[in-house]
Amino acid sequence: MSAARWGDVASYALFALLAAFFLLPFAWLVSLAIRTPAEVYLGAARFIPEAPTLDNFSAVLSDRAFLSYLWNGLKLSAGGGALAIALAIPAAYACSRIPFRGQGAVLVGLLAVQMISPLVILVPLYRWMSTLDLLNLHLSVIAVYGAIGMPLAVWLLKVTFDAIPVELEEAAQIDGASRWLILGRIVLPLARSGLASAFVLTMVMNWSQFLVPFILLERDQDWPISVAIFNFAGSVSASTTQLLAAACLIAVLPAVLVFVALQRMIVTALISGAVKG
């Protein structure tokens, strides 16, 4: 066997080890979630339960509150993602097409903003929202999500815009079209995939946000799943482990599925961003 073949064997061995680490939590969640209460306390001895059941999922999903937590999560993260993209488009376009002094500073500044934890700004935000009576509104959360997701979106969209040949726009410019019109009619349609991946990425980030909705939404019926799952832990009457596992799976699945389905697109966008950035 050649050295390269030995290398392959070693690679597979490493992959197996790493895959076990990354798979274990998911696999265990599934194992717990399909157990009956009688089998939950048998530990690892019964990895595949003798009497697998979907009851735990139906129990969690039959709770209408849980469905609305999922719905809130979807609404807030999609709304926040859309707002972030909308805010980022003009800025990214300017950074890509209009040379100006301080451009580097703007881009680095955006990156620096990305570094600020929401924890730093949330106390004043809470107070403001409270005085302005904007607490407990989904719109407030979406606005904050928009601000948090915007810097990353600017970076990703700038890369996308850079890749679009400028000649197309020059032709339109000669015809007298304004820059806004060019952006809307020519650039954005061509940047579809970049826009989509930036949107999905910011949305997935929003899906896992805990702090912002936790602070700005005081009523539990407004909560997204990322916050509600915390209350779900230890809040059901009987032995809960199997229900908690099912709830965790349901909370995680939508984001994972979206991400897995679109991962090629997202990874490509991230890679081109990372390479050129």
Binding site: D8, Y93, V113, M115, L119, V123, A233, V260, A274
Partner: protein, 301 residues
Amino acid sequence: MTAAPALRERPPGQGQPWPWLLPAVAVLAVFYAIPVLDVVRLAFSDATLIAPATGLSLDAVRSILGDPALRKVLATTVIFVAVNVVALQLAGLSIALLIVRGERRGLKGMAAFRTLVLAAWVVPGIANGLIWGLLFDEAPYGTLNSLLGSVALGPVAWLSDPKMALVSAVIANLWQGTAFSMIVFYAARRGIPPVLYEVAELDAAGPWRTFRSITLPLMRRAIAVNSVLVSVQTLNTFDSILALTGGGPGRATEVLALFTFNTVFYNLDLAGGAVLALLLFAAGITLTLLIGWIGRDRGTS
């Protein structure tokens, strides 16, 4: 991280950039600049979640900085961040290089493996803490301990021993955070011209030499940038620890971000929380500058 050189080849843009930047700048001003200023103001006040500030005061600053717990929390934070930054990057780099090698050799299952790592990335922090809480459960029927028990090992005091609890928190963070480093390194590795590796092969350079003289030097910048991103992300992490241990046992896993969260939402101490938030902010900026400086130094040598 500066503007791409390609920009200068573009025709001189007409018009001002500022109208285009306005929405972004306005949003940053409203949601970042002013709140940060407000945090500074709060830090020098006596506000609580229940009672508004009544005047300027240094009490919060003095009491938080004089709190013996702060030293313990900072030490925990330094360990947590340092270990994570090293571990996350080692894991991310190895996985990225393994995948690139696998792809080159046409090994099967690369996409599936990459997807698996990425899937952990999108798990909400709270859910991450809950999931690992189930895995680390030390009851006789707990996951990892019963797995270990089946091969006559353990039990391990995953969360009840103060030192081990911090290790467990790192493991949970590693599970979720590796994907990010992996993507960055994967992209950087793919950005290295293949011709360099062909030359190395002609020179009959071994894999270790190739790694040391081609891969590593050319990825230095990616590593530097990634170090900043990862360390700041880790510094700001608290939701998974909140759900995993609540900061305990004692203060064993209470990092600065969680300490800040607890100060505001458990003790309802706004002024103290603002001081801690500023500390967090300063730590983030310092880390960014420090690692940026280290990265630059190495890059030019």
